[in-house]
C-alpha cells in the first residue's frame, strides 16, 4: 500500500521536466503552431471557390511551369514562345526569373517520388503558403540572432499573419514574390549570421541564398544595394572587423558569379549602374584591410595618420574617376526607369506612363499602411528606440533595413511587401523588450518580499523594506494590467489580420463576387467562361487582340495567340493596340488587319472611363495622331450625350456599348443606363461595319432579369479593377468577344 503512492509520484517525477527542457518544449510547440497558422490563414479562397490560380501574372508562371514539367529543364531554358506577342514572339528562357518554376517543379517531383499523385496546379497554388510558413521559421532565427529567442518567437507570430505579406502569398497567388520574400529574409539572416560569427561557411551560405534570390525576383537589386550600404555604415561608424571583411568579400564575389548564371541578369553586376555601389564598397573594403595591415606594421601613429589621409583621398579619387569613365563610355548603363522612379517618384509620372498607370505603383496613403500593418505601426518606432539603445552589428542592420524599406514602401504600394519582414522584426523587439520589462517587474518584487520576510534582520532594514513593500502591490497590479493591455492589443491585431485576409486579399480576381439585394453572395465567372469559349470555339491558329492585362490569361486558359500581354516589354506594340481601340472603326480595321487579328476581346463594366485614359496616354506617346483632348469634354471623360464625338465613335466605345442601348439595367432608369458611370450613354444606336459580335458572357442576361439594386463601387477602369487587390469588393463585369470579318 505504501509503495503505490511512491511509484505514482516517482512516475510523475520522471515526467517532470527541467526548466530548460520546459522552455524548449514551449518554444518548439509555439513554432509548430505558428507554422500551421501561417499556412491555413492563406487558404480562404481555396475553401470558398476552388483551387485555382489568381490574377494575371501567375498564369504566365503557371504556363511556364507546365512547360517545364512536360519538357524538362534544357528545353525550358531555351524556349522561344511564338504564342504571345504575335508576330514578334518572346524568348522565354532569357526573359524570366526561373526560381519560382524550378522550386515548384522540385516540390512536385519530390511529392511524386513519395507516390503522392498530385497535379502540378495544386503544387503551384500551394507553393506560396508553404514558403510563407518557412519564412516564419527564418524570422524566428533572425530574431534570435538580433535580440533573443523571445523576440524571435514574437517575430514569427507577427509575420505569420501580417496582411502586408499575405496580400502577395495567398494560396493561388503563384507569383515570384511568394518565394522571393523567403529568399530575401533567408539571405539577410545568413549574412548577419556571417558578420556576427565571421565564419566562411555562413558567408558561403549567404552567397547561395543570394543566388536563390536572384533566380526568384527582380527585387534582388534591393539586396545588392542594402548590404553594401550597411557595410559602408559599419565602416563609417568604426566597426570594421575581420568578420565583416570575410563575410562581405565572400558573399559579394561568389554571389556575383552565381548571379551571372541567370540569363535574364547576365552581366548586369559589372555593367549596370544599379550594381555599382556593391563594387565600390568592395574596393573600399580592400583599402580598409590594407590600412589595417599598414597600421599593424607601423608603430608611429603620426606617420600613419598622414598615410591614412593620403590613401583614403587617393582611393576615393581613383574610384570616382573609374566610375566616371565607365558611365561616359557607356559601359556602365544608367539606372533603369523602374528603379529610378523609386528614388525620384515624380519621374514615372512624366516619362513612363505605362509604369505610372499600374495601380500597384501608386504612392502609399496612410490607410494602406494601417490596413497592412495595424498596431505594428506603433511598435515600429518603439522597436527602433530599443535598437538604438543596444547597438550592435546586427541591430544596425535591421534598423537600416527597416528605414530603407519603409521609405520605399511609402513611394510604391507594392513595396509594402518588402518592408513587412523588417517591420515585423523591429516590432517584435519592442514587444519582447516591453513584456520582459513588465515581467521582470512582476517577478523581482516577489523575491524582495520573500527576502524581506525570511531575513527580517535589523529594524531599519525591515522598516525600509516595509515601505517598499507598500508600493509593490500597486506596481505589481500595474504591471499585470499593462500585460493584459498588451495581450488585448495583440489580439486585436490578430482579429484585424484575419478580417483583412478574408475580405480583401482572398479574391482570385478572375472570379468576381458581389452582394445581391438580400445580402446573398453572387458569383461572376465571366472571365473563365470567355476563355473557355475561346478555347473550344475558335480555330487553333486564331489571334486575339485585347488590352494587355488579359494577355497571360488568354494564352494560358484560352490557348490562343495574343498580340500583347502583361510582360509589357514593347511599348510600341502596346501603343498600336491602343491606337486601334481608340480610333474610328475604319482606321481601326486597317490596324487590325495588318496585325492579322481574328478576334477582339473587350471587358465592359468600367472600360471607357479610365482605361481609355491610359490607352490614349500610351498610344499618344508613340503616335502623335492620338490626342487626349479629343476625347475629353471640359477635361473629363464622359460617355453620355455630352461626350466628345471622337469618344462616342471610337472602336472601344462601339464594341462595349453594342446593343447596350436597348437594355434595361436598373429599375426606374432609361434603357442604356451605364451603371458603372451612373449616366445614360450618348450613342445608343451602335452599328458595326467590319466587326461582328461573336460571344457575350452570361452576365448580360443576368443584368436584364435581376431588378435588385446591387451596390456598385465606382470602378474607374480595367487597370484599377484588374490589378488592385484591395478593391475586390463589389464590381461586376461582362466580357464580349467580337469577330473581325
Amino acid at each position: 500500500m505504501a509503495t503505490m503512492p511512491a511509484s505514482a509520484s516517482d512516475l510523475l517525477k520522471s515526467f517532470k521536466l527541467k526548466t530548460k527542457q520546459q522552455e524548449l518544449l514551449i518554444r518548439v510547440s509555439i513554432l509548430c503552431l505558428v507554422y500551421i497558422l501561417a499556412f491555413i490563414t492563406r487558404l480562404f479562397s481555396v475553401l470558398r471557390y476552388e483551387s485555382m490560380i489568381h490574377e494575371f501574372d501567375p498564369y504566365f508562371n503557371y504556363r511556364t511551369t507546365l512547360y517545364l514539367t512536360e519538357n524538362g529543364f534544357y528545353d525550358f531554358w531555351n524556349w522561344f514562345d511564338y504564342e504571345s506577342w504575335y508576330p514578334l514572339g518572346r524568348i522565354v528562357g532569357g526573359t524570366l526569373y526561373p526560381g519560382l518554376m524550378v522550386t515548384a517543379v522540385l516540390i512536385y517531383r519530390i511529392l511524386r517520388f513519395l507516390r503522392f499523385a498530385v497535379h502540378i496546379r495544386e503544387v503551384c497554388v500551394l507553393t506560396a503558403p508553404f514558403f510563407a510558413s518557412n519564412t516564419t521559421l527564418v524570422a524566428y532565427f533572425f530574431g534570435k540572432e538580433i535580440w533573443d529567442s523571445g523576440a524571435g518567437l514574437v517575430a514569427a507570430i507577427l509575420i505569420a499573419v501580417c496582411p502586408g505579406y499575405i496580400s502577395r502569398s495567398v494560396a493561388g497567388s503563384y507569383d515570384n514574390e511568394g518565394v522571393a520574400i523567403f529568399a530575401l529574409l533567408f539571405t539577410f539572416y545568413l549574412f548577419v549570421k556571417a558578420v556576427n560569427t565571421g565564419s566562411l561557411a555562413w558567408s558561403l551560405a549567404s552567397a547561395f541564398g543570394y543566388f536563390y534570390m536572384v533566380s526568384a525576383w527582380g527585387g534582388y537589386v534591393f539586396i545588392i544595394n542594402l548590404i553594401p550600404l550597411y557595410v559602408l555604415v559599419l565602416l563609417i561608424t568604426g566597426r570594421y572587423s575581420m568578420r565583416l571583411y570575410v563575410a562581405y568579400n565572400c558573399m559579394y564575389i561568389l554571389g556575383m558569379l552565381l548571379a551571372m548564371q541567370i540569363r535574364f541578369v547576365g552581366f548586369q553586376h559589372v555593367q549596370s549602374g544599379e550594381h555599382m555601389a556593391a563594387m565600390g564598397v568592395f574596393f573600399l573594403m580592400q583599402v580598409f584591410y590594407f590600412l589595417d595591415w599598414v597600421k599593424h606594421m607601423l608603430s608611429d601613429t603620426k606617420l600613419f595618420q598622414a598615410f591614412l589621409r593620403i590613401t583614403v583621398t587617393s582611393a576615393v579619387a581613383v574610384g570616382g574617376i573609374a566610375l566616371g569613365l565607365g558611365m561616359v563610355s557607356g559601359y556602365i548603363s544608367p539606372w533603369t526607369g523602374r528603379f529610378y522612379s523609386l528614388l525620384d517618384p515624380t519621374y514615372a509620372k512624366d516619362h513612363i506612363p505605362i509604369i505610372a498607370s499600374v495601380s500597384e505603383h501608386q504612392p502609399t496613403a496612410w490607410s494602406s499602411f494601417m490596413f497592412d500593418f495595424h498596431i505594428l505601426l506603433f511598435l515600429f518606432p518603439a522597436g527602433l528606440y530599443f535598437c538604438f539603445k543596444r547597438l550592435s552589428d546586427a541591430t544596425i542592420f535591421i534598423v537600416m533595413y527597416g528605414l530603407t524599406s519603409m521609405y520605399f514602401a511609402g513611394v510604391m504600394v507594392r513595396l509594402i511587401l518588402v518592408a513587412t519582414p523588417a517591420v515585423c522584426l523591429i516590432s517584435a523587439i519592442a514587444v519582447s523588450a516591453t513584456v520582459k520589462n513588465l515581467t521582470v517587474l512582476l517577478r523581482s518584487k516577489n523575491k524582495v518580499v520573500q527576502t524581506g520576510s525570511t531575513k527580517g534582520s535589523g529594524g531599519s532594514k525591515s522598516s525600509s523594506k516595509a515601505l517598499l513593500d507598500q508600493s509593490q502591490p500597486f506596481q505589481k497590479n500595474g504591471a499585470i494590467a499593462l500585460l493584459f493591455g498588451a495581450f488585448y492589443l495583440l489580439s486585436r491585431y490578430a482579429t484585424h489580420c484575419t478580417w483583412v485576409t478574408s475580405e480583401a486579399y482572398s479574391s482570385p480576381s478572375i472570379v468576381l463576387a458581389a452582394r445581391g439585394a438580400h445580402g446573398n453572395r453572387v458569383i461572376f465567372d465571366d472571365y473563365r467562361e470567355a476563355y473557355f469559349w475561346l478555347r473550344q470555339n475558335t480555330p487553333q491558329d486564331a489571334k486575339v487582340m485585347s488590352w494587355w492585362d488579359y494577355g497571360y490569361q488568354i494564352t494560358a486558359m484560352g490557348n490562343r495567340t495574343v498580340i500583347v500581354d502583361n510582360n509589357t516589354w514593347n511599348n510600341t506594340h502596346i501603343a498600336t493596340v491602343g491606337r486601334a481601340m481608340s480610333s474610328y472603326e475604319d482606321e481601326a480595321i486597317e490596324i487590325i488587319r495588318s496585325l492579322d487579328v481574328d478576334y477582339v476581346l473587350v471587358v465592359f463594366g468600367g472600360v471607357t472611363g479610365y482605361s481609355s485614359d491610359d490607352i490614349n496616354k500610351i498610344g499618344g506617346g508613340v503616335f502623335p495622331v492620338i490626342k487626349e483632348p479629343d476625347y475629353l469634354v471640359n477635361g473629363e471623360y464622359r460617355v453620355d450625350k455630352g461626350a466628345a464625338p471622337k469618344m462616342l465613335n471610337c472602336l472601344m466605345y462601339k464594341l462595349c456599348y453594342y446593343r447596350f442601348g436597348e437594355m434595361m439595367t436598373e429599375y426606374g432608369k432609361p434603357p442604356g443606363y451605364d451603371r458603372a458611370r451612373g449616366v445614360e450613354i450618348g450613342n445608343k444606336d451602335v452599328k458595326l461595319e467590319h466587326l461582328e459580335e461573336a460571344f457575350t458572357t452570361s452576365n448580360w442576361i443576368n443584368l436584364r432579369k435581376d431588378n435588385a439594386s446591387f451596390q456598385w463601387c465606382l470602378s474607374l477602369g480595367i487597370v484599377d479593377l484588374a490589378l488592385a487587390t484591395n478593391q475586390n469588393f463589389l464590381e461586376t463585369e461582362l466580357l464580349t468577344l467580337f469577330q473581325a470579318t
Partner: protein, 119 residues
C-alpha cells in the same frame, strides 16, 4: 538622441503619405455639397478607396502613429531604475495614456474611412 528624433521625423513623413501628397497632389481637405441646403460641407476622409487620402487626414493619422510609438518608449523609460519615483510615475501615466489615445483614435479613423471595417 538626435539621430533617433530625425528617424522619427522621417517615419512620420513617410507614414502620413508624404510621397502620395507630393505626387498626386490631393486637396488639403475635401468638400461636398449638402443636397438639402446647398451649403458646402468639408469632408475629412476620402471615401471609397483604401489607397487615397487628403493631406490633413494623412498628417493626423501619422501623428497618431508616432504618438503611440512615443508612448511605448515612455513606458520603457518609466521602468528604468535610476530615476526619481515621481518622474517614473509621470512617465508611466503619459506613456499609457499616449498608447490608449493613439490606438483608439486610429481605430476610429479607419472605421470612418472604410465603412465596412470588421463586419
Amino acid at each position: 538622441m538626435t539621430v533617433f528624433s530625425l528617424v522619427l521625423l522621417t517615419y512620420f513623413m513617410v507614414v502620413s503619405g508624404f510621397v502620395y501628397d507630393v505626387i498626386v497632389e490631393p486637396p488639403g481637405i475635401g468638400s461636398t455639397q449638402d443636397p438639402a441646403t446647398g451649403a458646402v460641407r468639408p469632408v475629412v476622409f476620402l471615401p471609397g478607396r483604401v489607397n487615397g487620402q487628403y493631406i490633413i487626414e494623412g498628417l493626423s493619422s501619422g501623428f497618431m502613429f508616432v504618438l503611440g510609438g512615443i508612448g511605448i518608449v515612455l513606458l520603457d523609460l518609466a521602468l528604468d531604475k535610476n530615476r526619481a519615483r515621481s518622474v517614473k510615475v509621470s512617465y508611466a501615466i503619459a506613456g499609457i495614456s499616449s498608447v490608449v489615445i493613439a490606438y483608439v483614435m486610429t481605430t476610429l479613423f479607419i472605421r470612418i474611412k472604410i465603412p465596412g471595417y470588421l463586419r
